[in-house]
């Protein structure tokens, strides 16, 4: 409905009738329906955040009550693969930022590629996460392995479900972008995706590193 506002830097005295690629300063000011969708999405993500805050609260309470964390008989949590996962998610968020910008500037192919890349990196995340689960399961860490196992699996599985939903959504948004449609959807999915990424960073820091 509304066009993105594109501001151009106009050096004095130069002919600016032909925009120079890359010098466009781009500001997106959504109006009307799009802004309504943004407000709704922001509130939705706020609600979602509260759900995860409930989970983190549970984690904090359970952990402070535990005499020893991690417990002695728990297998050590890997750090490498989850670290790679963190890089994957951060990279996919970066791809997402570029993809959204491309979509809004009308560059459908780049938009499609960016969204597809973000989705692919999300799928990589899921694959690596499955490896982590597999190895820990074989090493004896189960959901029933006390609160340590409970927290680990509850958090990582629940987060992975969100990643899976995101991968699906981004793939769908990618194909729509290739056709030139769904510009607003791309931006909304990008917010969701960044949210999932931020969650992962918090999870990684508090569950794997701490």
């Amino acid at each position: 409905m509304s066009e993105p506002m594109v501001e151009r830097r106009e050096p004095a005295g130069e002919d600016v009738s032909a925009p120079v690629y890359g010098l466009e300063r781009y500001r997106h000011r959504p109006r009307g329906e799009e802004r309504t969708a943004h407000v709704g999405m922001a509130i939705f993500l706020g609600s979602w955040a509260m759900l995860f805050i409930g989970l983190f609260f549970a984690y904090a309470l359970v952990r402070t009550r535990a005499p020893l964390w991690p417990p002695l008989d728990a297998p050590p949590l890997p750090r490498l693969i989850p670290g790679l996962n963190t890089l994957a998610i951060l990279a996919s968020s970066a791809a997402m930022v570029r993809a959204v910008r491309s979509v809004e500037l009308g560059r459908n192919r780049q938009g499609f590629q960016g969204l597809a890349a973000a989705a692919a990196l999300g799928a990589v995340f899921l694959g690596l996460q499955a490896l982590v689960w597999g190895s820990l399961w074989r090493a004896g860490l189960l959901p029933s392995s006390g609160t340590f196992g409970s927290v680990f699996y509850a958090f990582t599985v629940f987060h992975a479900l969100h990643v899976a939903v995101g991968v699906g959504g981004l793939t769908w948004a990618a194909f729509r972008a290739r056709r030139g449609a769904g510009r607003s959807a791309a931006r909304l999915w990008s917010w969701y995706w960044h949210f999932v990424g931020v969650l992962w960073v918090a999870l990684y820091a508090t569950v794997f590193l701490a």
Binding site: G46, L55, R65, P143, G146, S150
Partner: protein
């Protein structure tokens, strides 16, 4: 302002209404239809919850005796201890989540928010439809739980762990109920997002925040609490489901499960972080509705509108900070307990402001006693009692004695049953003509009122007395302790009053069904109550699919009554929110939307 009106018109184009049966009545995206759907679903479960209450009262009045009518469903025709705990559990859950919430928030939120702010529908109509059907799914899960082999949930509506884990209450029934709680939370959150966004984005030009009807304020603040705190319940329900079905140990300590280490108090924290805002979620719409209805029927502007708005906002914020008063006897640190007590006492201040503003609104008015007004006044009176009894419970010393007694049950029934439910009836009688085009019968309405008002007063006043004497809640047989045998008479009498209260609801059932389905009742007209808000002044009864032929341009607040100037110019004692008075012309370009 005129430009904004054109903009809103463009943003909310008039669509043709749906024609197929499915799109019109089942999978409708029209907020008015969805409101009615919530109403039917909620009233159905209100009835079920009421029947469960009657079973509880039967047990108190005639313990160990065969139950008439429903005895066939029970083992041996009697209520046993295991069944009893299922009855009071499902009574609470159903009344809170599946009856009052859909009627008060689902119906009025959906019906009134777009109409009162001058919009054609919600911000996200399809999401609205999904939220209703998700809600129906949660109701089905609750019904399914009754069919489980050893019965439905039995750990109280509060589902404290470890009683609500497999250790305390094994079986599918409890699991299904926990799942139902999660799913209904999803539905609530979807609805909340819709309500919040709609009020922020789709207010008609000139409808500033301080010109909103108080009903919209109440529903909007409720939606904010819903959006923030229902997900916390979701997290608790999720963890409990994991504990029950996947062997995790969030709530099971080592004393109880071999590899435990979880914390039962964790459940209480998560539950009450949701649970206390939940009771405010249930009362804020009533606060809003009462503010408007009292002004309408006293024909007088609402007293200190701004004061009430700010008080409602303060209540909303504080509601999250008082939850620990449900946990005073769990052994929390004294400092924490005293902090919660402080905030609990503080929240009484804005509540008092709201109630006193109601009284000063009708003071010096010209009061008409139509049925909606009777219910509104009854709510003021009964909620007043409920609120005052909260003072006892928010104080740690007194709570040491009163916790888990019937005093608590009396308190929350006065505030929730008498407050929220009677407030819902106020809204139903008032907005019935808007929804269905006809007025409910006044005589049946008044009979309904007196049975309900006196019934609630006597039943729950009796509970306050019994709790004061120390009789505890959730007891299958309260008279095991011979001391309380002295209260047997009180318990029996309050049960009789409860049966009368339930019977009195049949006035409403008859009235409701007859009026909805009868072809012979006169149409009510567009604005039968002669009031000021947009849904009455600018839209037919019932409204067309697109609500407003033209998006209204709002020029004044919602309570313009008995203004001598208006009387002189129009001959009426009220002026609609978008009404241009003769001799005033089109409003100039004003300061725009706040």
């Amino acid at each position: 302002m005129i430009n904004m009106q054109a903009e809103m018109e463009a943003a909310q184009p008039i669509h043709a209404p749906p024609t197929s049966f499915w799109r019109k009545y089942v999978f409708s995206i029209d907020h008015k239809v969805i409101a009615k759907q919530f109403l039917w679903a909620g009233l159905l479960f209100l009835f079920v919850g009421g029947v469960l209450a009657m079973l509880i009262r039967w047990q108190w009045a005639f313990p160990y005796r065969e139950v008439p009518l429903l005895g066939g469903l029970l083992e041996g025709g009697r209520i046993g201890p295991a069944t009893y705990q299922q009855i009071f559990t499902t009574h609470g859950l159903i009344m809170i989540f599946f009856a009052v919430t859909p009627v008060l928030i689902g119906t009025f939120g959906n019906l009134l928010i777009p109409l009162m702010i001058g919009a054609r529908d919600m911000a996200f109509p399809k999401l609205n439809m999904y939220s209703f059907w998700t809600f129906v799914l949660s109701q089905l899960l609750v019904l399914a739980s009754f069919l489980a082999p050893i019965g439905t949930a039995g750990a109280g509506w509060t589902s404290y762990a470890p009683l609500s884990t497999n250790v305390g209450t094994p079986g599918m029934g409890q699991t299904l109920v926990v799942a139902a709680i999660f799913v209904t939370g999803v539905a609530s959150t979807m609805g909340a997002v819709n309500y919040i966004t709609t009020v922020i984005r789709l207010r008609a030009p000139g409808m500033t925040w301080m010109r909103l009807p108080l009903t919209v304020w109440g529903l909007w603040l409720t939606a904010i609490l819903n959006a923030l705190f229902v997900p916390v319940l979701g997290s608790a329900a999720l963890l409990l489901l994991l504990d029950r079905s996947f062997g995790t140990h969030f709530f099971m300590p080592a004393a109880v499960a071999a590899r435990g280490g979880g914390d039962p108090i964790l459940w209480q924290h998560l539950f009450w972080i949701f649970g206390h805002p939940e009771v405010y979620i249930m009362i804020l719409p009533t606060f809003g509705i009462l503010g408007d209805v009292l002004s309408f029927f006293a024909r007088k502007p609402h007293h200190w509108y701004r004061g009430t708005v700010w008080a409602l906002i303060v209540i909303t914020v504080l509601s999250a900070m008082v939850y620990g008063h449900h946990m005073f006897v769990t052994g929390m640190s004294p400092l924490l307990g005293e902090g919660f007590m402080l905030f609990t006492l503080l929240i009484s201040i804005p509540s008092m402001i709201v109630v006193l503003n109601w009284i000063l609104t009708v003071w010096n008015g010209s009061i008409r006693f139509d049925t909606p007004m009777l219910f509104a006044l009854g709510t003021v009176f009964l909620f007043g009692i409920g609120g005052l009894t909260g003072l006892y419970l928010g104080d740690i010393s007194m709570d040491l004695y009163l916790h888990d007694t019937l005093f608590v049950v009396g308190h929350f029934h006065f505030t929730m049953a008498a407050g929220s439910l009677v407030g819902a009836f106020t809204g139903l009688y008032f907005w019935f003509p808007k929804m269905f085009g006809k007025r409910l019968d006044e005589r049946l309405g008044k009979a309904h009122f007196w049975f309900t008002f006196l019934g609630l007063l006597l039943v729950f006043g009796g509970q306050l007395l019994a709790g004061y004497a120390g009789q505890q809640r959730r007891l299958f047989d309260p008279f095991q302790n011979p001391v309380y045998q002295g209260l047997a008479g009180l318990n029996r009498w309050t049960s009789f009053f409860a049966f009368a209260l339930f019977a009195g609801q049949f006035f409403f059932i008859v009235n409701f069904f007859r009026t909805v389905f009868s072809k012979r009742i006169q149409p009510a007209g567009q604005n039968p109550w002669h009031v000021t808000t947009l849904e009455w002044t600018d839209s037919a009864s019932p409204p067309p699919f697109h609500n407003f032929d033209r998006i209204p341009l709002v020029v004044r607040g919602p309570h313009e009554f008995s203004n001598p100037e208006v009387q002189r110019l129009t001959g009426r004692d009220f002026a609609g929110q978008a009404e241009v008075l003769p001799g005033q012309g089109e409003p100039a370009v004003s300061a725009g939307r706040a």
